[in-house]
């Protein structure tokens, strides 16, 4: 491999960052433009039209709150299921890791539309359509693979040694969990929680089908605008969407505790 000088690699990094952030710049430009037609390079007129229209939409604030509520609840439930499951799978010797992998990814391998429509039929029978609980359940189904994969890897890295040592020193399971496993798992948990939150926040199809139009989330508002070529409004929603996910991830990081000393391995 060619070794780059520190200066070259710095500029390369800068270029990468620029390329990555470029689409965001367009989002912002679109959000605040009134007219932007070919061949002009930049918006011809800057305005707050999109912002106002979004703000005045009566379903906008409820959608933001719904999205937050559903994503946070999904994150909580996913971690609650994934933690013990990942612990079990990381220690068991019965199944080969390859099979576990397939099992974990099954919800992502199976066609989503088939799952969603059949779930809708089932949920209709048990009166779960149009409820938050129904939406949270289906979101959890699609988010679990992400949580499982990350936590499984964290548990594998953590190994049994610390727990066994704590046990040998006389600690009971509950103490072992709170003073050893939890703090050492924090980095993995934060990553898993953030990813689940983002994935749940951006779900469209399951929310649409199971919510039945009764529960509106941000993606449900955003998508029609993007499809109909109303780029200004779609961009405005996208910017809000981005900010919301960033806020959510930030909150989760603070709540779980981020990196404490020595847990970075």
């Amino acid at each position: 491999m060619v070794k780059l000088s520190s200066k070259t690699s710095y500029y390369l990094l800068l270029l990468t960052a620029f390329v990555l952030l470029l689409p965001m710049l367009f989002l912002v430009l679109w959000s605040f433009s009134d007219r932007w037609m070919y061949p002009s390079l930049f918006p011809e007129k800057v305005a707050l039209k999109s912002l106002n229209q979004m703000r005045l939409d009566p379903s906008f604030f409820p959608a933001v709150l719904n999205s937050f509520f559903i994503a946070i609840a999904t994150t909580f439930i996913s971690l609650l299921i994934a933690m013990p499951a990942a612990k079990y799978f990381s220690l068991q010797k019965l199944l080969a890791p390859r099979w576990i992998e397939v099992m974990i990814y099954l919800p992502l391998i199976l066609p989503a539309i088939a799952i969603v429509t059949s779930t809708q039929t089932l949920f209709l029978q048990v009166h779960l359509t149009g409820t938050f609980f129904g939406i949270i359940l289906i979101h959890t189904y699609f988010c679990l693979p992400y949580a499982m994969q990350i936590l499984l890897e964290s548990y594998r890295q953590l190994g049994e040694g610390y727990q066994l040592t704590a046990e040998s020193l006389g600690a009971k399971p509950w103490t072992i969990f709170w003073s050893i496993t939890w703090p050492l798992m924090r980095p993995g948990l934060t990553t898993a929680a953030s990813l689940v939150f983002i994935v749940s926040f951006s779900q469209y199809l399951p929310t649409f089908f199971i919510g039945g139009g009764k529960i509106i989330t941000l993606p449900l508002l955003l998508l029609p605008y993007a499809n109909n070529g109303r780029f200004g409004l779609a961009s405005m929603y996208s910017v809000v969407f981005l900010l919301c996910t960033m806020l959510g991830v930030f909150i989760l990081k603070k709540a779980i505790g981020g990196v404490t000393y020595g847990t970075e391995r």
């Binding site: 040592t165 020193l169 003073s179 020595g262």
Partner: protein, 331 residues
């Protein structure tokens, strides 16, 4: 008596790891569990420590020995990385619900004993190998164990540190008077530290004895080979007389072997050169820091000896007399 282990068995699936293992540990005794990697030693320790399931009646604690007073220190130390040295050491005291001032007092004392002064606020990744080892030991010893289980305690340390730590452990044991079960595959470690050695090979105990006894009179060829000994002279035994070419010798024959057998000559056995005895032909002579190392042909077999009473020259024929009665074993 303090601990008794009876008829322990362990299998993973169809693979049998430990087959019928029994031994005892007395108060204040250091017992080395010696055997190659994969012979189930660590599993055995985990069972005794109570962190691996075992049917109850098979491990018995007597006198003031209890499971709670039995502590395991792993090979990899497993210091909690998010806790300081003090927090690591006080962990066991905290879960045992000692009062805060009592914990502080005990920890302060143990920090001094273990030479950890000044490192109280350090985290494990700021410590050297020897310091980590001492913290791991301190974390167990502070709980005043009756029985300390050490799993390859010095395997992760360099040679110099190993020797220092062995000495350290011995002094510690003399001060606190706990028993130790030491799992090791390092024979020098076992010979140096152990009062008794338990030779565990392929899930079975082959011999339990004092290190010296095991060295001079191993129970069989497998034991001899496990402790790194290679001088085995082929011949024929009748009652307590062993015969091979140019060799006729009174021997130990504890198993009453008749006919084909192997004569075991420990590499380090004290050997004097006299006018009569076992005839040997000097093939090679090398200098080592531990003295002269000589390759001799005894009864058609090449043997290495390091503890000869006088210097011999290559090409010479000499007569050897051994300080201990040698043992014969099955081929």
């Amino acid at each position: 008596m303090g601990l008794s282990v009876k008829n322990i068995q362990l299998s993973y699936g169809k693979k049998e790891i430990i087959r019928d293992v029994s031994f005892e540990v007395k108060a204040g005794e250091i017992v080395a569990l010696f055997g190659p990697s994969g012979s189930g030693k660590t599993s055995l320790l985990k069972m005794i420590a109570g962190i691996q399931p075992v049917s109850k009646e098979k491990i018995t604690f007597t006198e003031d020995f209890t499971q709670e007073k039995t502590l395991l220190v792993f090979q990899d130390f497993w210091l909690f990385p998010h806790m300081t040295v003090v927090e690591n050491i006080s962990f066991g005291l905290k879960v045992r619900k000692f009062a805060k001032d009592k914990i502080a007092e005990k920890v302060e004392k143990i920090i001094e004993v273990f030479d950890l002064t000044g490192l109280e606020k350090q985290y494990p990744d700021q410590l050297s190998g020897g310091q980590k080892q001492r913290v791991a030991l301190a974390r167990a010893v502070v709980l005043e164990p009756k029985l300390l289980l050490l799993d390859e305690p010095f395997a992760n340390l360099d040679q110099q540190l190993k020797i220092t730590m062995r000495e350290y452990l011995r002094r510690l044991q003399e001060t606190y008077q706990f028993s130790i079960i030491l799992v090791t595959h390092d024979r020098d470690e076992a010979f140096q530290l152990a009062d008794r050695m338990v030779i565990l090979l392929k899930g079975e105990i082959h011999q339990i004895d004092e290190p010296k006894e095991i060295y001079y009179h191993p129970a069989g060829r497998l034991v001899a080979e496990a402790i790194g000994e290679t001088n085995l002279v082929r011949g024929v035994v009748q009652k307590d007389i062993f015969r091979a070419e140019n060799v006729e010798l009174r021997v130990h024959n504890p198993r009453n072997i008749q006919g084909e057998s192997l004569l075991f000559i420990p590499i380090g056995i004290e050997t004097s050169i006299q006018n009569s005895g076992v005839l040997a032909f000097v093939k090679r002579s090398e200098w080592t820091p531990n003295g002269q190392q000589v390759l001799l042909e005894i009864g058609n077999t090449e043997c290495t000896l390091t503890n000869l009473s006088e210097k011999v020259k290559v090409g010479e024929e000499v007569y050897l007399t051994f300080s201990e009665t040698l043992t014969v074993m099955r081929p």
